[in-house]
């Protein structure tokens, strides 16, 4: 009985969240709604990151590589007059999937700090590439991103704010919703269970006939694609992309976001993205040394609540359920 009521509570929470997100551009100040677009992109990116971290126990220090790949894929596509957002997202998936397959083939043979260092190295390699090959990448100045077409509709005459808060907002909302649902399917699939088995006890998993490398590799590819999609969705909002997006700062943000939200829960990274993005936005506007504050926050989270926001909520819910 208590369990059932908990399920309906979750369903209610889902409906209410959905309604708020649907109505947000109509009821909230413009600024809040624009930042919400950042939350969507960031949520997909960290969802990919956490497939490796939370479900496989692999800490990637270089997921900015894929985030940048997504953003640059949009920049290139629009520059070469590929304006259909669907086509651009498809290109993003293919390109990031291929790069993740290559990078992953090397990285997943290692675990722990070695995996982290290798991913870090690849990301910084890409960062250097973006800066040095300026005739291709625009160097430190980066590239401009033209407005994409959504569902083949030409929206180039729509004012920028209206485009972002109407057409693009709902486009991204729906896309993110679907992508989150697909990720939910993945972690609840046999594959998701196998990942957790590898995380919990690699040797036992091997003796149960699971080929560790293959599973890690596939997870790495999926994670790379998700993070790239996050970068791709965010790019048209910013309208511009430069190499800083590939810097390890960005990877650090993914880690902080995930820890903040809670890596042990599926919703953790999404909640983390929500809190992190708004907090960052707020702090940047009021504090000059906002990074200092973030550093302190990270230390606080790791020491006091290592299970993150969703971890705390989950244990509270379990407590309530236990008392009922």
């Amino acid at each position: 009985m208590a369990f059932k009521s908990l399920i309906t509570k979750k369903l209610w929470l889902f409906i209410v969240t959905g309604m708020i997100l649907l109505l947000l551009p109509m009821i909230a100040p413009v600024h809040i709604s624009v930042v919400m677009l950042g939350v969507f992109g960031s949520a997909l990116a960290v969802l990919g990151f956490n497939l490796l971290f939370g479900y496989l126990g692999l800490l990637s220090l270089g997921h900015s590589l894929f985030f940048a790949l997504g953003a640059y894929a949009v920049a290139y596509s629009t520059q070469y007059s590929i304006l259909s957002m669907e086509l651009i997202l498809l290109i993003t998936i293919i390109v990031s999937g291929l790069i993740a397959a290559l990078v992953g083939a090397i990285c997943v043979r290692f675990t722990h700090i070695y995996f982290g260092i290798l991913t870090f190295a690849f990301a910084m390699l890409f960062y250097s590439f973006l800066i040095k090959f300026y005739y291709v990448t625009g160097g430190e100045d980066g590239l401009r991103i033209l407005r994409p077409q959504l569902l083949w509709l030409n929206l180039s005459t729509v004012p920028q704010m209206q485009f972002l808060l109407r057409e693009y907002y709902y486009y991204v909302l729906i896309f993110t919703g679907i992508a989150i649902w697909v990720m939910w399917r993945i972690v609840k699939s046999p594959f998701g269970l196998a990942l957790k088995a590898i995380r919990d006890n690699q040797m036992k998993a091997e003796y149960l006939g699971i080929s560790i490398w293959k599973f890690r590799w596939v997870a790495f590819i999926v994670a790379g694609i998700y993070t790239a999609l996050g970068g791709a969705l965010l790019a048209p909002v910013v309208g511009h992309v430069d190499p800083s997006i590939a810097h390890w700062y960005q990877s650090g943000h993914f880690i902080l976001t995930t820890l903040l939200g809670g890596f042990t829960q599926f919703l953790g990274p999404i909640v983390g993205a929500l809190v992190f993005t708004y907090l960052q936005d707020f702090l940047m506007s009021v504090l000059h040394y906002w990074r200092f504050f973030f550093g302190a926050l990270l230390a606080f989270v790791v020491i006091i609540v290592p299970e993150g926001i969703m971890g705390v909520i989950d244990s509270l819910l379990n407590k309530i359920e236990g008392e009922v």
Binding site: K188, S189, A197, K204, Y207, S211
Partner: protein, 274 residues
């Protein structure tokens, strides 16, 4: 009539630099047998198991499983061939419920573990079989408890249950009852043997320190000493060979009884799965 040999070691030696861990070991495990491997500390038991399960390649000699050379093929391929292994130390997935623990083994066996988008909860075949297996091990009531929260004996059973869920032909059990209270040892062995029969295991290789278990459950006992096979016979024959074994071992204070000879193995720590 001689039954088919499933697992053979043919004149196997293993050297670690100068040190000789196994010296010309030849043995076979035939269909329908329960074979125990015993021996004092440093006798080479761990090395022998590791060689027999393809984890390490012998320096000389060959190991065959159903006629196929399995020298150093590694755990994943070994399991696919139908030779399973459980460990002396517990190997569990702490965050898994009992049922998930069994499910992952079944999924792996059926080649479904790589399915990215299919629903685990809706897979009736896997759900049904996992419930059957967990029931076989008497853990049905505890199927939704996280394995890290189970008592030691249940963890051990779960570990073995997942191994059996792979439907191996031969299973190699490295001290299945270590770290478990004496009263639980027989329970574990009985459940294990009954479940092995039901899942179609053809032979069992047992490495065990508890001589009561060894003598009451084995069809054949292999005694290993300083990397060599000292005796390979039935439990009844071995009891008669007590004097011989003592003499060969060269212990001056020749042990009064055979079981006391082997009792100093208790508390041994095998390094391989640390």
């Amino acid at each position: 009539m001689q039954k088919v040999a499933l697992l053979n070691a043919n004149d196997v030696s293993k050297f670690y630099k100068e040190y000789c861990a196994l010296n010309g070991v030849t043995l076979e495990v035939r269909e329908g047998e329960i074979v125990s491997i015993i021996g004092p500390n440093g006798a080479g038991k761990t090395t022998l198991i590791n060689v027999l399960t393809g984890l390490i390649k012998p320096t000389t000699g060959r190991v065959y499983f159903r006629g196929q050379d399995i020298g150093g093929i590694g755990p994943q391929k070994l399991t696919k061939l139908g030779l399973a292994r459980s460990f002396q130390l517990l190997h569990i997935f702490p965050e898994f419920t009992g049922l998930d623990f069994i499910k992952i083994a079944i999924l792996s066996r059926l080649g479904k573990a790589i399915h990215l988008f299919s629903s685990l909860d809706k897979d009736k075949v896997v759900n049904k079989e996992s419930e059957e297996i967990i029931n076989m091990f008497g853990l049905y009531e505890k199927r939704n408890i996280l394995s890290k929260n189970m008592p030691q004996g249940d963890k051990k059973l779960l570990d073995i249950a997942s191994t059996l869920a792979m439907h191996p032909e031969v299973i190699l059990l490295d001290e299945p009852t270590s770290g478990v209270s004496t009263s639980e040892k027989n329970r574990i062995m009985d459940i294990l043997l009954a479940a092995s029969e039901r899942t179609g295991v053809k032979s069992i290789v047992l490495v065990e320190h508890d001589m009561d278990i060894v003598f009451s459950y084995s069809d054949r006992i292999i005694v290993l000493h300083q990397g060599k096979i000292l005796a390979d016979c039935t439990p009844i024959e071995l009891e008669k060979k007590e004097e011989v074994v003592c003499t060969v071992m060269g212990q001056k204070e020749c042990f009064k009884t055979f079981s006391s000879l082997l009792s100093w193995q208790h508390g041994e720590g095998n390094g391989h799965d640390a």
